[in-house]
Symmetry: C2
Subunit: 253 residues, 2 copies
Amino acid sequence: MKVVCIGSGNVATHFSNAFKANGAELMQVWSKNQNHAAELAKATGAMPISDLKKIDPTADLYLIAVKDDAIPEVVEALNAVQGIVAHTSGATDINVFAESGMNFGVLYPLQTFSKQKALDFKNVPLCIEAKDQETLDALKSIARMLSPLVYEVNSEKRRILHLSAVFACNFVNHLYALSNDILAKNDLDFEILRPLIMETAEKVQDAFPADVQTGPAIRNDEQTIVKHKELLKDMPELKDIYETLSKSIKKTH
Amino acid sequence: MKVVCIGSGNVATHFSNAFKANGAELMQVWSKNQNHAAELAKATGAMPISDLKKIDPTADLYLIAVKDDAIPEVVEALNAVQGIVAHTSGATDINVFAESGMNFGVLYPLQTFSKQKALDFKNVPLCIEAKDQETLDALKSIARMLSPLVYEVNSEKRRILHLSAVFACNFVNHLYALSNDILAKNDLDFEILRPLIMETAEKVQDAFPADVQTGPAIRNDEQTIVKHKELLKDMPELKDIYETLSKSIKKTH
């Protein structure tokens, strides 16, 4: 199993490490920035390149992990390869490959990656889609090498997953950031809130979130809501978010 | 160490079990509802009561774990006891005890409890406050019996913690619920999102949330934001929340 990794960001780094850990050979790492390519290439024993024309045509998998708007030019440059070419984007349709004669597909990891934090790839749901059944089967084998959590998801549903991940990850993290703002403004340490954050996530691992909702809004505890809004009177943006989300909780339940 | 537990809800249940597991004697469990009292009493070997006048005056600790607006009447009924009387409310000032001659304090758990889910009490931050230094020292020893995470927090800061917990727990859980709504509407299973939810919480255990923010809003990826709003066109409330939180992310960073 020979892999060429196009990209050197968080997604490229975690995929490359996972492929290497599972016995695949990393042939090349491409990045527009030669230094970035060299860094990831060194860690995985690959050859760093910064010219798409130098891509080795003999790999089994070409993994595209670049910014969404850079995908089309990569696709064009890869047109002659024989192996499977897969992008990793949640928001990009499989049609981005439509004009090509390649064996193409999608390998979308529904997870949040950061370079600083190690992550067990067994906890990365991989959503796959492919040009035809043969390519899909091949991509499924490759995905299962890396993670037991493999799902067949078409482009339309992948967009939905990507959107729901914005709520469950990006917006959630922003709420963590806002609670830290509230604490910092009052000389309180974020440390004290961390166990609650973990438990809140753990609670929905075996339950549906609507069934474990707690707090003043779901209890219709107007007295507490009024007190909280009073505490936020100097933070109008947070007060607005408090009102919007409290209203939404009351409405849903 | 003899404990009387006033209340039989989630907080009362988790505290009672933790006290019992750490060798304390549960003397009585009070609930307005005799069946609820009996249930928790049975699990902890305590005597169930539903009349506040029958409270044993010889306990070391009277833990008040009832709804906020029921605390004053409990305080009044306990006026003759000698042990420490502590409420567990985030939003209730220590002044609720001011008229009493008791040894009073607060033992506020900054955690989310549900009856269905077991929880290691070692992960429960306990915020304490007391009438005087002697009572505070005694309450600190009691708290440390249950958890290593003991913080001295006055009533003003406790209110702030309670407010920040609404953002980091109640609102976060509601965002989980909204992502599930998006998935369900499109025949996708919440299961696929659970690993992302765990990892998002784990990421801020060693980092500050503002430093690990990801997603289209922080990247100023207007193209994706427009597509997401289009996908939400039949869910105006979610579209509104999407816009409010995206705007807030862009503003903060």
